[in-house]
Amino acid sequence: MAELQLKSHRFRAEREADWRRLERLLDRAQKGGLKKLTPPELLDLPILYRQALSSLSVARAISLDQALIDYLEALSTRAYFFVYGARASLWARIGGFFRRDWPGAVKAIWRETLAATLITALAAVVAFGLVMREPEWFQSFVPAQLAAGRDPAATTASLRATLYPVLNGKEGLEVMASFLFTHNSQIAIFAFAFGFALCVLTVGLMAANGATLGAFLALFAQHGLLFESVGWLMIHGVTELFAVILAGGAGISIGSAVVFPGERSRLDAAMHAGRRGAVVMAGVIVMLFLAALLEGFARQLVQVDAARYAIATATAAIWGVYFYAPRKAGRAAL
């Protein structure tokens, strides 16, 4: 035994240069992004990554140098993150989202959407009927919403403060409108997130939202303004309410996936529903943005009831066709 030659040492000596090279490439890529790497380097990166992975496997089998294994684990992990990290051209992703992913995801949760619609409509009808018969009911819908877990900070004071001036004249309408926008986008996100709590809270939110709508309309109706108020509401409300209902549908789909996971494990089912719901939600926020635009501009500019109804009908038709019309291309890959 003249010279103690460890096989693991030879193994390391042969490959170390490649590991170092991969490490340097990763360092540079992390600092300056992909643009810092030349095309040949970019081509080498996945190869070096696979080499590092195979080195790790071999090292685990033949080497007892813990420091070496630790290093290779960390290096492979970093390279893995880089090779498999979230990376796509922003425009390609946005294009794919609007062309395929979003409508696909919305279509996929049509059952839940229908359920959310029915709940909202039912609550609206009930609230409408109650307030029409007994105006005091209007007040009682506000605490009921708080109990359902809606944001009390934004509501208790501000809701009452903004609701009553509505009856006095046209002045208060914009205040209520901007209030409704933030309120609805908040409801949308909560409705989605609440779905996790086994749908119960999402259903509650949908009902509360519908009840608010019904109560509002009843208030106007009592003053003989039902037709005008529906036009005033629906010019943006078609988009806004549809967005909130979709969010509720996404929430319900998560909740039902947790309760009835079917073939998958519960964790898996929650993940699939969560990701699909997230696609829907990203679009819902876009819808709420559009609704805000309609609310801010179209409603100020369009003062004729018939035109308002026309816009409302048109948006309803556009959304319906966009989401539910049959498509040639394959659906979202979720």
Binding site: M1, A2, E3, L4, L6, K7, S8, H9, Q30, L53, L56, I62, L64, D65, Q66, A67, Y71, E73, A74, T77, R78, Y80, F81, Y84, G85, A86, A88, D101, P152, A153, T156, A157, E174, S178, F181, T182, F190, F192, A193, F194, F196, P261, R264, S265, R266, L267, D268, M271, A273, G274, R275, R276, G277, A278, M281, A282, I285, F289, A292, G296
Partner: protein, 305 residues
């Protein structure tokens, strides 16, 4: 109830307590990732919230200043426009900050990067945009909603509700502590995992510089059979640590155990180095023949030699 094929695969190879998790890449290699510690994640969240909060306060102050100017000059349209800007701005900031940074190649917000954490997809595939959106939308429920509960005291909300908010926060904030992968609700919905992504330097191989013989004396096979892999790795740590007193103690133990009769004037570090190299050579040769001797009590692997 469930079909735990995937779960089982994820759980089986994990040793208890070291916080590592089996994570198989598409190439089929297990990276054994370190799950991000709860404390680290809280720290990361705190940093991120401070950044978002700081920007939000700045934005608010800026808009308030303009708002009052508009108010005084009775420019109602501008005032309304500012309100819309504030509402949209704070909304976009709150959600966009987390999503934007996590979507960006490094998969981490500034807070996470400082704490050495990053987000990955639990199934080992590419981290997708919808997963990032899902995990951050859930944050509304976990952090921002209860926060509004807690800070709502001033506006006539009764104490019961604030208490409810507190309990709510408690449940969700502590949720990651009740599962091994430290998943928060958003991670479950999105199928993501937050892991520690450290940078490790390649240390030199300490067997490389080891002397083969100590003043002419070498270790006998029997002397090298005294220990297994576990002891070898402890010895590696001792040698890399370089603490003289520990080395002296360890060298004394080993000399006693193997009945070392060679020259006694060899320095402890040299002795240990040589023994490390000899032991590693012996154990690695065993590995090549398919015998892995886990520790000194593992005699089965030695039977054939």
């Amino acid at each position: 109830m469930k079909r735990p094929r995937k779960l089982k695969a994820a759980r089986a190879p994990r040793e208890a307590g070291d916080g590592r998790r089996a994570f198989v890449t598409p190439e089929g290699v297990d990276l054994r990732l370190q799950v991000g510690a709860y404390v680290d994640r809280l720290g990361a969240l705190a940093i991120d919230l401070m950044i978002v909060g700081g920007v939000l306060v700045a934005l608010t102050l800026l808009i308030l200043a303009t708002f009052f100017a508009a108010w005084r000059s009775h420019d109602e349209l501008l005032a309304r426009a500012l309100m819309v800007v504030w509402l949209l701005g704070s909304f976009v900031l709150r959600l966009g900050y987390f999503i934007g940074f996590e979507l960006h190649g490094s998969g981490a917000t500034p807070g996470k990067r400082i704490m050495g954490l990053r987000v990955i997809a639990r199934d080992g595939r590419r981290l997708t945009a919808d997963a990032i959106f899902a995990r951050n939308a859930m944050r509304e429920l976990e952090v921002f909603l209860p926060a509004t509960f807690l800070f709502a005291r001033g506006s006539g909300v009764d104490g019961a509700l604030t208490t409810l908010g507190g309990i709510w926060t408690g449940v969700f904030v502590l949720f990651p502590l009740f599962n091994r992968d430290r998943l928060r609700l958003g991670d479950i919905a999105a199928g993501t995992l937050v892991v520690k992504a450290p940078k490790v330097k390649l240390l030199r191989d300490i067997a490389e510089s080891a002397p083969v013989t100590l003043n002419g004396a070498a270790f006998s096979p029997a002397q090298l059979d005294a220990y297994g892999v576990k002891e070898l790795q402890v010895l590696e740590q001792v040698l890399r640590g370089g603490d003289r007193r520990t080395m002296a103690a360890v060298a004394k133990r080993i000399r006693g155990k193997i009945g070392w009769e060679g020259p006694a004037d060899v320095p402890d570090a040299t002795f240990l180095n040589a023994y490390y190299a000899g032991l590693r050579h012996r154990l690695e040769t065993g590995l090549l023949f398919g015998r892995r001797r886990a520790d000194k009590h593992d005699v089965l692997a030695q039977e054939k030699t």
